[in-house]
């Protein structure tokens, strides 16, 4: 079986852990519970008839209280950069983290996720504007850990890019 390490990066409270919980356990909790350090989960995806085992490193959100340790990124085949659609500055943080990812891992695939698509009333990020940001890898993927919309697709998309790129 192909085994790949991927990381989830982003500001705090953007929904990284919720995305993993949705993918791995098909559950969602409204209650925000901050991640301290790293949570590691595993998920096997079936892609084109092949099983791909993802070792998912759900990293603590970065802010003034916690900083990302770059050594956590070592060996990552790709990453999901997660932003919160209701908090525009989290897009900036996601893009900064993408640069740090590249410093450590080189040009590995990274998908930008705009999460919390269910909170349309409070949505304050335009994915098209985000896509236009200089250096974006690809179109952002709009997700909702609450409804599950786009979640599995985002992980699959990253896995495909990892396999396609031979990373």
């Amino acid at each position: 079986m192909i085994r790949k390490k991927i990381c989830l990066l982003g500001a705090f409270s953007v929904g990284k852990t919720s995305l993993v919980q949705r993918l791995v356990h098909s559950i969602f909790s409204e209650r925000y519970q901050t991640t301290v350090g790293v949570r590691i989960e595993k998920k096997t995806l079936m892609l084109d008839g092949n099983d791909v085992s993802l070792v998912i490193w759900d990293l603590q959100g970065e802010d003034e209280f916690q900083k990302l340790r770059e050594s956590y990124l070592r060996g990552s085949s790709g990453a999901l950069l997660v932003a919160d659609g209701t908090r525009p500055h989290t897009v900036d943080i996601a893009i900064l983290l993408r640069d740090r990812l590249r410093d450590v891992c080189g040009n590995v695939p990274a998908e930008l996720l705009i999460n919390k698509a269910d909170l349309t009333d409070e949505w304050a990020v335009d994915p098209r504007a985000v896509a236009a940001l200089d250096g974006a890898d690809s179109e952002p993927i709009v997700t909702s850990a609450k409804t599950g919309a786009g979640v599995e697709g985002a992980f699959e998309s990253l896995a495909r890019r990892i396999l396609g790129g031979g990373a």
């Binding site: 705090f12 901050t34 301290v36």
Partner: protein
């Protein structure tokens, strides 16, 4: 530090007194009881009655009465079978009093410690004799004893919980340990003139390891005994072991010291000593007989009954890091020595929780390696290897990580790569429980506060923009009014011109009034959003009537704008969930919105249709329609179309009002051009 405030002092005193089971007796001049109370039974004075001769009941008072003016204290008197009390006798206001406080626990503890102290010399002698058959490097060099006999004193302070068999060693109680450390330090300085250095490793210091070297043995043993006596009196620090050495060179405290376990609770102390002990450990307690279990847990040690308690002898090589491993094991930390090939060798007992992280590298080798699935630890070992290669004494943390256990619960861990002062490569694994929870809770609070702050900031920004829009919209009609009034005031005008200017002024004033009303409606609606509404069909609003009233009130404005307004509704009642005046306001807002965008000569249609349990009202105009980008946010606060003259609050008002009634509002393009705005209301049934 000043004295306690009066009210606090009273409270503190009341607690202190209650815990010591006080009792009192007041006596007349003839030593007969005038009054008595408290826990007299505890002191053998059950049924003491007024008029009794107290000296006949309490032997300990014989010869003590009559009392003098100066109160005397008789500490730790034996007042009954196994019962001890601190007794105070004095005179206050002409009355003789006897006050008793329970001292049994303290006396028992002191007695036990004294007994152990008295036996210490004998035990030490037996230990040295028993160590005779050990390998040469573990033997005491008798020739050096007289002149070079010095000791290493290591005092391990152990915090215990309610159950003394279950040591509790957590950071929340470090304060107690620190207090114990301070007292121990002071006592040693006083008793033996020693200055103890706190253990070099930070972890040891936090949990109470003190050590010193170069102390004459006799002095060290006396000091250890004194330390035990002190520590035994500290609440929450109910145990300690003093490890006194055999003979070692003054400048080279080495592993040939012979520990003597002298502190309760015995089983735990002994286990710690076996982890710490270099070659042999003598148990100073006849209750320790279960050598088999200890031999199983501590591979390499053999126990034999040689005195009151067993003597344990290590047959293998003593661990190089045994002492640190012992302390860390007691704290639930696994300490592993790292060989050049990367294999990890435990220096103490490997607890069950570590099974999730480590796999045996073949039982025969006794080595361990990170479990196959454990990517975090494997990743950290890369960093650790770099750290070890640098060879600088110190440590590097892995950071916290969590793994799911077999029960699906998240468990938190942290690893430390250490380089010892001798260049040793060590890996410590810590199972975090309370520390992790505390840290997470603190971080959670900080971040929730940050999120609240961000939400508040966003709300303030929205309000600022809203305020700007409102002021701008109010200013436009005001300019027209001022202009019209200025013309009226400064020129002689024809009557028809005057009428025209008055009409302009009036229309603009009404427009301004409408805007103000909308603003007030919205703020009021936000406040009322959670208020009750009418769902009883007998009192619920009649949608048909609301529609007719709203259409009638707007018909003149539509006529002025040359826009036809039609209503296609049933004649009968149609009760819906809501509040009549607010429903009419919502309909009016949609009619006003349609009028604003309808070109002259067109038609706006109001229609009603029944849906399952709901009623849908549609207002269709033939205006330019709504840009799809704007349509997504059309019902948000202060989103405005291109026509102007709107506060951007009318549709927002509709949304929050309808939503509070379980209904909804929406927009869709009208086939053939124009807009359809709709309200969906719940039928009151």
């Amino acid at each position: 530090m000043g004295a306690l405030p009066g009210f606090l002092e009273e409270y503190a005193m009341s607690i202190a007194v209650r815990r010591r089971s006080p009792a009192y007796v007041l006596l007349g001049p003839d030593a007969r009881v005038v009054e008595a109370g408290g826990e007299l039974a505890r002191y053998g004075l059950r049924d003491l009655a007024v008029g009794d001769d107290v000296t006949a009941r309490a032997d300990f008072l014989a010869g003590m009465l009559p009392a003098s003016d100066e109160t005397i204290e008789l500490p730790a008197l034996t007042v009954g079978e196994g019962q001890h009390a601190d007794v105070h006798i004095g005179v206050a206001d002409g009355t003789t009093f006897v006050l008793l406080f329970d001292a049994t626990a303290r006396v028992m503890r002191q007695s036990a410690l004294q007994q152990k102290g008295n036996d210490l010399d004998l035990l030490r002698g037996r230990t040295v004799r028993a160590a005779g058959p050990l390998p040469a490097d573990h033997l005491v060099d008798a020739a050096n004893v007289n002149l070079r006999r010095v000791a290493v004193v290591r005092v391990h302070l152990i915090l215990v919980g309610e159950d003394e068999d279950e040591p509790v060693l957590d950071s929340t109680r470090v304060v107690e340990t620190r207090r114990a450390q301070r007292l121990v330090r002071e006592e040693l300085r006083r008793q033996a003139g020693l200055t103890l250095e706190t253990g070099a490793a930070e972890a040891c210091a936090a949990f109470g390891l003190l050590s010193t070297t170069g102390v004459p043995e006799r002095q060290a043993i006396d000091a250890a005994r004194a330390v035990l006596a002190i520590v035994g009196l500290i609440p929450g620090v109910a145990a300690c072991i003093g490890v006194a050495s055999g003979a070692v060179a003054a400048s080279e405290p080495t592993s040939d010291a012979v520990p003597i376990v002298i502190g309760p609770p015995f089983d735990h102390a002994l286990r710690l000593a076996l982890l710490v002990g270099p070659g042999c450990v003598l148990a100073d307690d006849e209750t320790v007989t279960h050598t088999q279990g200890l031999e199983r847990d501590f591979v390499g040690w053999t126990g034999s009954q040689t005195g009151p308690g067993p003597l344990f002898v290590r047959r293998g090589n003593p661990p190089r890091h045994g002492e640190l491993a012992g302390v860390l094991s007691a704290l639930g930390v696994v300490l592993l020595e790292v060989r050049q090939d990367g294999i990890l060798f435990p220096t103490g007992v490997v607890p069950d929780w570590a099974d999730a992280l480590l796999e045996w590298e073949g039982r025969a080798s006794g080595g361990l390696r990170p479990a196959d699935e454990l990517s975090f630890l494997a990743n950290f070992l890369v960093d650790a290897a770099e750290f070890w290669d640098r060879g600088e004494v110190g440590f590097q943390r892995s950071g916290i990580w969590t793994e799911l256990d077999e029960g699906g619960e998240n468990q938190a861990f942290e690893a430390l790569a250490l380089v010892g002062s001798g260049g040793e490569r060590l890996l410590a694994l810590d199972f975090l429980s309370e520390a992790y929870t505390e840290r997470q809770e603190l971080l959670q609070q900080a971040r929730e506060t940050r999120l609240s702050f961000e939400a508040l900031q966003a709300e303030i920004q929205k309000k600022d923009v809203l305020l700007h829009c409102i002021v701008h919209d109010l200013k436009a009609p005001l300019s027209s009014i001022v202009g019209a009034l200025s013309l009226l005031n400064t020129r002689e005008l024809a009557p028809d011109k005057v009428a025209s200017l008055l009409e302009i002024g009036l229309r603009q004033a009404q427009r301004q009034e409408d805007l103000i009303r909308q603003v007030l409606d919205v703020f009021a609606a936000e406040i009322r959003e959670l208020e009750s509404f009418e769902s009883d069909p007998r009192r619920a609003p009649d949608l048909s009537q609301c529609l007719r009233d709203a259409v009638d009130s707007y018909r003149p404005a539509y006529q002025d704008a040359d826009v036809e307004l039609t209503l296609d509704a049933t004649e009968g009642e149609m009760r819906v969930v809501g509040v009549a005046d607010r429903l009419e306001r919502a309909i009016a807002n949609l009619l006003e919105n349609a009028l604003r965008y309808s070109p002259a000569g067109t038609r706006t249609e109001v229609a009603v249709e029944n849906e399952d349990g709901h009623v849908r009202v549609t207002i269709s105009d033939r205006g330019p329609g709504v840009d799809p980008e704007v349509a997504e946010k059309l019902f948000d606060r202060f989103v405005r179309g291109s026509a102007g003259g709107s506060s951007g609050l009318g549709l927002y008002y509709c949304r929050i009002t309808l939503r509070s009634w379980g209904g909804s509002v929406g927009y869709e393009p009208r086939p053939g051009g124009g807009s359809v705005f709709w309200l969906r209301l719940v039928r009151a049934l």
